[in-house]
């Protein structure tokens, strides 16, 4: 968890600092949003909380709902 915070501070410095000068509000919000998603995911990972994988979901969907998997 410590490392996650350190890494994100570095990322924030590198990525968000250009926005301080120029007026690009929209870009700033989108960047912030993506960064928050990344932060959330990595915090969950660092705290050992299981995140469901969309690929496994797709797998189960194809296998059990569409029933077209190879045997």
């Amino acid at each position: 968890m410590r490392y996650v915070i350190i890494v994100f501070i570095i990322i924030a410095i590198v990525d968000l600092s250009p926005f301080s000068k120029k007026d690009k509000r929209k870009d700033f919000y989108i960047t912030l949003m993506i960064m928050m998603i990344a932060l959330a995911l990595s915090s969950l990972y660092a705290l050992d909380i299981k995140i469901p994988s969309p690929v496994v979901g797709l797998d189960n969907f194809i296998r059990n709902v569409l029933k077209i998997a190879y045997k």
């Binding site: 496994v56 797998d59 998997a69």
Partner: protein
């Protein structure tokens, strides 16, 4: 609106395509476990089956020479459905980046650095990739010729080094597997290495080639890549015989067997070198287009602020994408080909058909000019 203005030249494009396919040629166990000694037939069939898909791509590339996939979706389907399509594609690209990152991370950890935590390996790799991505795609493709050259040299030289261990009898009996096995292996090959070429649609506006000639270079690159894949599979079957079906990395095992008396042996490092180089290329490209996809989706003015965050997402995604190697293999050889087929062939086909029906983009050109 073009975020990355650097151009990719003809040879760079051609070898990028080749490199992209070669990077998958080292991980062949998805289909070698199914068709065993007939895998080479499956490779040939798979390449033939993939050609129509490539024609669809080239049709789209010809129609929209200076637009990438996200913009094309917006133009063809309108803003709402187009966005849905784009999100599917972006998810697909990120999944591919995650899976490839995972493959490489696992390989390095399993074979070379088995005590190192995988986040260090993957993190270092993605950091390097993020550097290249920030500098634009041209930086990576510039090296594609070199990478292809290294990989092809390694493949060809190992063919010669293992020639004393090859036995042509290992290819017998031919065509004795159940018919479904061939269909399945062909499908897997056309979906997993070849179909992933859908990424070139994202690089489309960066190509410095006349729209009509793009197909030519695409096919050349495809041939180089496909031929390498065929050669690798041939070599592995001839050397490993039946055991090819039980290994997760047949090529790695083949290279481990090389020993020209005691002077030249233990050359599996070559495999690691070519795998890491090619995977670096592939992950960089996939990473780049994931970032680009998101930047275009939100119509941002610069893609650079996104790079590191998306890199972190890819790393975390690569850890959670499959719970285990068994799930990975099962998915890769049973269900993923169907999912990938939709994204790689059916969606582009729909795009092409709708574009044809709506007479895009000529109509728009007439209006704008």
């Amino acid at each position: 609106m073009i975020l990355d203005k650097r151009k990719i030249s003809r040879t760079q494009f051609m070898f990028s395509v080749a490199c992209f396919i070669q990077s998958s040629s080292l991980l062949t166990s998805f289909f070698t476990s199914i068709t065993k000694q007939d895998s080479w037939i499956a490779v040939i069939l798979g390449s033939i089956v993939s050609i129509p898909t490539l024609l669809i791509y080239s049709y789209i590339m010809k129609k929209f020479p200076d637009k990438n996939l996200i913009e094309i979706n917006d133009m063809v389907f309108g803003p709402i459905i187009g966005k849905i399509f784009s999100i599917i594609y972006i998810w697909f690209f990120m999944t591919l980046s995650a899976i490839n990152t995972k493959d490489l991370g696992e390989f390095v950890q399993k074979t070379i650095l088995d005590n190192t935590p995988s986040i260090i390996i993957v993190g270092a790799l993605l950091l390097l990739c993020s550097w290249t991505v920030r500098n634009g795609i041209e930086i990576v493709t510039r090296y594609s010729l070199l990478f292809t050259f290294i990989a092809t040299t390694i493949v060809i030289s190992t063919v010669f080094l293992t020639i004393n261990q090859m036995e042509m009898d290992n290819f017998l009996p031919i065509l004795q597997q159940p018919k479904m096995a061939y269909v399945r292996a062909t499908h897997i090959i056309s979906a997993i290495p070849f179909g992933e070429l859908v990424v070139i649609l994202m690089l489309n506006p960066n190509l410095d080639i006349e729209p009509k000639k793009r197909i030519k270079y695409l096919l050349y690159g495809f041939l180089i890549g496909g031929f390498t894949l065929l050669l690798v599979v041939f070599r592995d079957i001839a050397v490993l015989s039946k055991t090819i079906e039980i290994f997760l990395l047949p090529s790695y095992e083949t290279l481990r067997l090389i020993s020209v008396y005691s002077t030249l042996s233990r050359v599996e490092a070559l495999f690691a070198i070519s795998l890491i180089i090619l995977m670096f290329f592939k992950i960089s490209v996939l990473y780049y287009i994931s970032v680009m996809g998101i930047a275009y989706l939100f119509k941002m003015k610069s893609y650079k602020p996104l790079v590191l965050s998306i890199g972190v997402i890819i790393i975390i995604y690569s850890f959670i994408v499959y719970p285990s190697i068994i799930a990975h293999m099962k998915s890769g050889s049973e269900t993923a080909p169907f999912g990938w087929l939709v994204v790689e062939s059916i969606l582009p086909l729909i795009t092409a058909i709708v574009a044809k029906i709506r007479k895009l983009p000529e109509q728009k050109k007439g209006m704008s000019s």
